[in-house]
C-alpha cells in the first residue's frame, strides 16, 4: 500500500527548502557589490529584485513550515531535487530582467545550465552583457558545481543528521571527512585555493596576451570558476576562441582536469599521499578513456583532413575532447564546425567522451569513471570465471583510496546508473529527432545536456522549440542529481496522487 504524504512531510520539506533559498539569496549580494563597484546600476537593481523575491519566498517558507524535526531520507532527497528547480527559477529572475534573454524560459534554461554546470546557452548579445550579470552566470556554475546544498550546509547549517541525506541527494555519496559539514568546508577550501591560483595564472596570461588588467583578471576569475566546476560558460560569445592563445588553452585544460578529479583524491594529494593518483581506479580509467576517445577523434579528423597539420589537428581535437570528457564545454571551434568540419567518427569520439565524464565526487556529470572501472572489473571477473576451473576462487579488487573487494551490489549499482544515463541520452536524442534533427546531431546535443557538458553542435539556439528547451532542462537537472533525488520526487508525486 502506498502511503499518502502527510502535512508534516510537506512542512519539513518546505522548512529546509526555505533555508536553502535564503542561502541562495545570500549569494546574490556578490553581483550587487560588483554592480555597484562597476557603476552598473541597472544590473545591480536586477539583483536587488532577485534577492528580495528570494528572501521573501525563503522567509515565507520558514514561517509557514516552521519545524524542529530532522529530515528523513525521502524528505532529504525531495528537498535537494526541489532546491535545484527553485534555484533555477530564482536564479533566472535577474538574468531575465537584463533583457538579454528572449523569454523567461530562455533565462531558466541558462540558469539551470549554470547551476547544473552544463554550459549550453540561449543568451543574446553576450558580448554586451554587464560585468554584474556575467559574474552571476559564472558564479552560479561555481556554486552549482560545489552543490547548492553544500553551500547551505557550509554556511547555514550547524550540524544535523539530515545534512548527510541532502549531501547524498546532490550526487555526492563519498564523505571525505567523518563529518559531512567538514567535508563541505573542505570542498570549499580546495575550491577557493584553486580559485586564487587559477585566477592569477589566467589573469597574468591575459595581461601578457594584451588584455587590460581589470578585464584580464575578471575573465580569469570567471573562466576559472567555470573550468574548475566543469561548467563551460565564458564571458564572451566565442568561448575560449576569444583569447586566441595557446597558453590560455593549456591552463584551462589543467584546470578542467583538476575539476574532473575526485575531491577525495584532492584530499589525499593535499595531505601528501601523491601515489594515490597513480593507483586510483578513477585516474587510470580517465587516462585510458581519454587516450581511447582521442584516438577515435584523431582518426576521424585525419580522415576528413579539416586541419592543415598534425599540430593543429591535435590542438583542436584534443581541446574539444578534454572539454567534453571533463564535462566542461569550452570550445575553440564554432558549434556548426562540429557538423560541417568534423566527420561522424570524430563526433562519435566526442559523444563517447561526454557520455563517460570524470570522477565521482567531482564537479563533472555523466556516468563517471568509478562506475566505468567497476563495470570493467566485473567483466574481467566474469571472463576469469569462464576461463578458470570451476573450483577456483575468483576475487577481484580495485584501488579507490583503499583496496576494495568487488561486490555484486557495487556492480549492480554502477550498471543501474549507467543504464539510466544511457536511457536519458537516447530519450533526449529521440526528442531532438522528433523536432527534425539528424540522429547524430540530436544524440550529440542530448548527451551534452544530460552529461552536463555544454558542447554544442548548433542545435541549442533561441529558435529551438520550447519542447526541446524543456527537454534539455529536465536532462540537465536529472543528469546533475544522478537520478536518485529525481526518482524520489516522482515517487512522492505518485504517492500524493495514489496514496491512501
Amino acid at each position: 500500500m502506498i502511503l499518502k504524504p502527510r502535512l508534516e512531510d510537506l512542512k519539513i520539506i518546505g522548512f529546509y527548502l526555505g533555508k536553502i533559498i535564503l542561502g541562495l539569496a545570500f549569494t546574490m549580494v556578490i553581483p550587487i557589490l560588483t554592480g555597484l563597484f562597476c557603476k552598473e546600476f541597472n544590473p545591480a537593481l536586477d539583483f536587488i529584485i532577485g534577492i528580495e523575491i528570494s528572501v521573501f519566498i525563503g522567509l515565507l517558507l520558514l514561517k509557514v513550515c516552521r519545524t524542529d524535526k530532522d529530515l528523513n531520507w525521502m524528505q532529504g532527497m525531495i528537498v535537494v531535487s526541489l532546491s535545484w528547480v527553485v534555484a533555477m527559477f530564482l536564479g533566472a529572475v535577474p538574468l531575465y530582467l537584463s533583457g538579454h534573454w528572449n523569454s523567461f524560459l530562455d533565462a531558466c534554461f541558462d540558469a539551470m545550465s549554470g547551476f547544473a554546470t552544463t554550459g549550453l546557452v540561449l543568451v543574446q548579445d553576450l558580448d554586451h552583457l554587464s560585468y554584474t550579470h556575467n559574474l552571476w552566470r559564472h558564479l552560479i556554475m561555481f556554486l552549482g558545481g560545489q552543490g547548492i546544498v553544500v553551500i547551505a550546509l557550509s554556511l547555514f547549517v550547524r550540524g544535523f543528521s539530515g545534512a548527510f541525506k541532502m549531501y547524498v541527494g546532490e550526487a555526492r555519496d563519498e564523505k571525505i571527512m567523518p563529518n559531512v559539514i567538514h567535508t563541505s568546508r573542505f570542498i570549499w577550501t580546495v575550491s577557493i585555493v584553486f580559485l586564487i591560483l587559477g585566477t592569477l595564472a589566467l589573469g597574468i596570461t591575459g595581461v601578457l596576451n594584451g588584455m587590460k588588467p581589470f578585464n584580464s583578471f575578471f575573465h580569469g576569475a570567471c573562466i576559472f570558476m567555470t573550468a574548475f566546476d566543469t561548467g563551460g560558460f565564458s564571458p564572451q560569445s566565442q568561448s575560449i576562441l576569444y583569447y586566441h592563445s595557446l597558453a590560455y588553452e593549456v591552463i584551462t585544460i589543467i584546470i578542467m582536469v583538476l575539476g574532473a578529479l575526485n575531491f577525495k583524491l584532492h584530499y589525499h594529494l593535499w595531505t601528501g599521499n601523491r601515489k594515490e593518483i597513480f593507483k586510483n581506479i578513477e585516474t587510470s580509467a580517465l587516462f585510458i578513456t581519454i587516450i581511447a576517445t582521442f584516438s577515435i577523434v584523431a582518426v576521424g579528423l585525419a580522415q576528413i583532413g579539416s586541419y592543415p597539420s598534425v599540430a593543429t589537428l591535435f590542438r583542436k581535437g584534443f581541446y574539444q575532447l578534454i572539454s567534453g570528457h571533463t564535462g566542461t564545454g569550452f570550445q575553440t571551434i564554432y558549434p556548426q564546425q562540429f557538423i560541417l568540419n568534423w566527420n561522424h567518427l570524430a563526433l562519435v569520439g566526442v559523444i563517447l567522451a561526454m557520455a563517460l565524464g570524470g570522477a565521482v565526487c567531482s564537479t563533472t556529470g555523466a556516468i563517471k569513471m568509478l562506475r566505468i572501472g567497476i563495470i570493467f572489473k566485473a567483466f574481467k571477473e566474469d571472463l576469469k570465471r569462464i576461463i578458470m576451473p570451476e573450483r577456483a576462487l575468483i576475487i577481484e579488487k580495485f584501488h579507490h583510496i583503499k583496496e576494495v573487494f568487488l561486490e555484486d551490489k557495487m556492480v549492480r549499482s554502477a550498471l543501474i546508473i549507467t543504464l539510466a544515463y544511457i536511457i536519458l541520452y537516447v530519450l533526449g536524442a529521440l526528442v531532438g529527432m522528433f523536432y527534425g534533427h539528424p540522429f547524430l546531431n540530436a544524440l550529440f546535443e542530448s548527451t551534452s545536456a544530460a552529461a552536463n557538458v555544454g558542447l554544442s553542435c548548433g542545435i541549442t539556439n533561441i529558435a529551438m522549440p520550447a519542447g526541446l528547451k524543456v527537454t534539455y532542462i529536465i536532462q540537465m537537472w536529472a543528469g546533475r542529481l544522478e537520478f536518485m533525488s529525481v526518482f524520489t520526487i516522482l515517487g512522492f508525486l505518485i504517492a500524493t496522487i495514489k496514496g491512501k
Binding site: E40, F41, N42, P43, L45, D46, I48, I49, E52, I53, V55, F56, L59, L60, K63, L97, D127, H128, L129, S130, Y131, N209, G210, M211, K212, N215, Q236, S237, Q238, L241, Y242, Y243, H244, L246, S306, Y307, P308, S309, A311, T312, L313, R315, K316, T332, I333, Y334, Q336, Q337, L340, N341
Partner: protein, 163 residues
C-alpha cells in the same frame, strides 16, 4: 642604391602577378556564410563587416581584434598600426567601432593553431563607436521598492508572531 630601388619594384611586380590569382569576394560576407563554407573560402580574400567587441589584444607588431556581425564574432589578425585606429570596443557600456575588413580567410589557420580567422589587409572604419548612456530604469526601481515593502511586512509579522 640600385639594389634598394629594384627590390620594391620586384615586390610590386610579384604582387600584381599574384593578386588576380586570389579571388576577392567584394560583397561583405556574413560570419555564418564563412563558418558554413570554410573550404570554399579558405585562403581567399573576403570582406567582412561588424562591430569590434571585447578589447583589442596587442601581440607585438600585430593584434587580435574580435569582430561581431550580429550572429558570431570572428577573430581578425591585423597589424598593430591598423588596430590603433580602433577607439571603441563593444561591451556593456560601449558600442564598438564598426569596421569593414578585407583580408585572407582561413578555415583552419596554420599560423594560429587551426583557428578560423581572417588576416586583415585593409581595414576601413564604417562607423565610430560610442558610449551607451545608462539611465536608472524607473520600473525596476519601483518594483524593488514594492518588494522591499513586502519584505518589511513579513519581518513585522515575524516579530508579531514571536511575541
Amino acid at each position: 642604391m640600385k639594389i634598394h630601388y629594384k627590390l620594391p619594384l620586384l615586390i610590386l611586380l610579384l604582387t600584381l602577378v599574384a593578386y588576380p590569382m586570389t579571388p576577392v569576394f567584394a560583397k561583405s560576407m556574413s560570419s555564418n556564410e564563412l563558418i558554413k563554407n570554410t573550404k570554399e573560402y579558405d585562403g581567399k580574400s573576403v570582406t567582412y563587416t561588424g562591430e569590434v567587441v571585447g578589447e583589442v589584444m596587442l601581440r607585438g607588431e600585430f593584434a587580435w581584434v574580435n569582430i561581431n556581425d550580429g550572429d558570431n564574432a570572428l577573430g581578425v589578425w591585423m597589424g598593430a598600426s591598423l588596430a590603433k585606429e580602433i577607439k571603441f570596443a563593444g561591451n556593456y557600456k560601449n558600442r564598438g567601432d564598426n569596421l569593414e575588413i578585407t583580408g585572407i580567410f582561413h578555415g583552419a589557420c596554420l599560423e594560429h593553431g587551426g583557428d578560423l580567422d581572417i588576416h586583415a589587409q585593409v581595414v576601413r572604419k564604417l562607423g565610430n563607436g560610442r558610449i551607451i548612456s545608462q539611465r536608472l530604469n524607473s520600473d525596476k526601481k519601483n518594483l524593488s521598492l514594492i518588494l522591499f515593502g513586502a519584505l518589511l511586512l513579513i519581518w513585522i509579522l515575524t516579530l508579531f508572531r514571536h511575541r
